[in-house]
């Protein structure tokens, strides 16, 4: 690659105007991959209703190549964690993630999937799926509107096109994540320290 002629973006655009398209195989593959992200057909709570809405005629996720919701994790590229992840459900969500083939992407949709949302201080809700699964895109909202989901999907497509590694590949757990056990008082472990560490907060002394 090092002795390949260097072509700037403006030169490439100029060639394109004249009907010549220059690209690399990797770029082509990334472009194709970004336009055919197949999400897992899987919903957890009210965010799933917005996700269904995004897939129907009015919002039409098919415009972005993601209409093929797969009922099997073996055929899916994208896990949209759409809703509240209860502690009882968390091992199953992580199991689905582990069954998806690489490269795979995770979107945490809505306040609950990001942090536990309004149920954060409850006894039965996981305080964010990113404690177990590396997340690529966070979509805030309660629930996020379908437009927000589409925006998140476009952000993910930009990420794929740029050739950046997935959050999973960058994390300490590429491929498989730790599936927690049901303990006597909580999930065990209650979080995966290799994936998630509490962000450092600098606070005043008062």
């Amino acid at each position: 690659m090092s002795d390949a002629p260097v072509i700037t973006d403006s030169e490439r655009d100029e060639l394109r105007r004249h009907g010549i398209m220059l690209t690399s195989l990797g770029e082509l593959a990334a472009w194709g991959r970004s336009k055919s992200v197949w999400p897992l057909q899987f919903g957890l709570a009210c965010c799933a209703i917005e996700m269904i809405s995004a897939s129907m005629a009015r919002f039409d996720i098919a415009r972005f190549g993601s209409e093929v919701f797969r009922p099997s994790p073996r055929q899916a590229d994208l896990l949209i964690v759409s809703g509240t992840v209860t502690k009882k459900m968390a091992p199953q969500v992580i199991r689905l993630w582990n069954q998806m083939p690489d490269p795979k992407y995770c979107i945490a949709m809505g306040a609950c999937a990001i942090s536990g949302g309004p149920f954060k201080q409850g006894y039965n809700v996981l305080k964010g799926i990113d404690r177990f699964i590396p997340v690529d895109i966070y979509i805030p909202g309660c629930p996020p509107r379908p437009e927000a989901l589409l925006h998140g999907l476009i952000q993910l497509q930009e990420k794929i096109k740029s050739g950046a590694p997935t959050a999973g590949a960058q994390s300490a757990r590429p491929g498989e994540c730790v599936i927690p056990e049901f303990g006597a008082h909580d999930l065990e472990p209650s979080k995966d320290p290799a994936i998630w560490q509490p962000p450092v907060i600098t606070r005043g002394t008062s």
Partner: protein
């Protein structure tokens, strides 16, 4: 529709010596209820369902209440005669009493056939620790099945005679009863960007030790999620 007092009187006439107590609701709704003794509860429930005048054929809601042990201070005023012969002095004596705790289960009953209701009945356990068994009313109203399981799951009331008493919301190996007042949830308060009240107290235990020489700064500045 008969009032709860009338129902109580009918029950006492039908079941002499049964423990049926009228519990008034002082709130605006004035939805009074009947407290039943656990031993006769099943027979009374069957009577409420089969009685042609009440015909309470539907149990719409089962819920639980945790009444923890409570210390009550009673103030008693006493007149103490003045030895000098003056008027009596009023002395206030404070008595501390411990009201024992219990767990309570509440059933809301309606009649579909006679279009009336609700009649609210309550059952109470002996205490909150080892005497927590109550008769199940699932054989009387089938609708109680899942709701009694939920009360068992979250409050720890054991329903004797329930056909399938398992946890319904939490997993089987779970040991606690989260809706009890003394439930302590697991200590995962290490990341609370906007803590307040009780959560703030729990979150403070995870704060790094403050540097000794640091000058006091303004309000906490939570940073965005990484």
């Amino acid at each position: 529709m008969q009032t709860p007092e009338q129902i109580r009187d009918r029950l006492l006439a039908r079941f002499p010596g049964a423990g049926v107590t009228f519990v008034a609701n002082p709130g605006a709704s004035a939805q009074h209820s009947l407290l039943l003794a656990a031993s006769e509860a099943r027979a009374i429930a069957e009577f409420l369902r089969d009685d042609p005048e009440l015909a309470l054929d539907t149990c719409s809601n089962v819920t639980g209440v945790d009444w923890p042990e409570k210390e009550i201070v009673e103030t008693i005023k006493k007149n103490v005669p003045d030895p000098a012969g003056g008027p009596d002095k009023v002395v206030e004596e404070k008595m501390k009493k411990t009201q024992p705790g219990c767990l309570e289960v509440i059933y809301h009953l309606y009649s579909m056939s006679r279009k009336q209701g609700p009649v609210v009945i309550r059952l109470r356990t002996g205490n909150r620790t080892d005497n927590v068994t109550l008769p199940s009313l699932t054989p009387v109203w089938r609708a109680c099945d899942f709701q009694e399981r939920e009360v068992y799951d979250l409050f720890g009331i054991v329903f004797a005679g329930h056909p399938d008493l398992r946890r319904i919301l939490m997993w089987d190996g779970f040991k606690d009863h989260p809706m009890r007042k003394d439930y302590v949830d697991p200590d995962d308060f290490e990341w609370e960007p906007t803590p307040h009240d009780d959560v703030l107290e729990r979150a403070k235990e995870h704060y790094p030790a403050a540097p000794v020489t640091a000058a006091p700064t303004a309000s906490p500045t939570p940073e965005g999620k990484a």
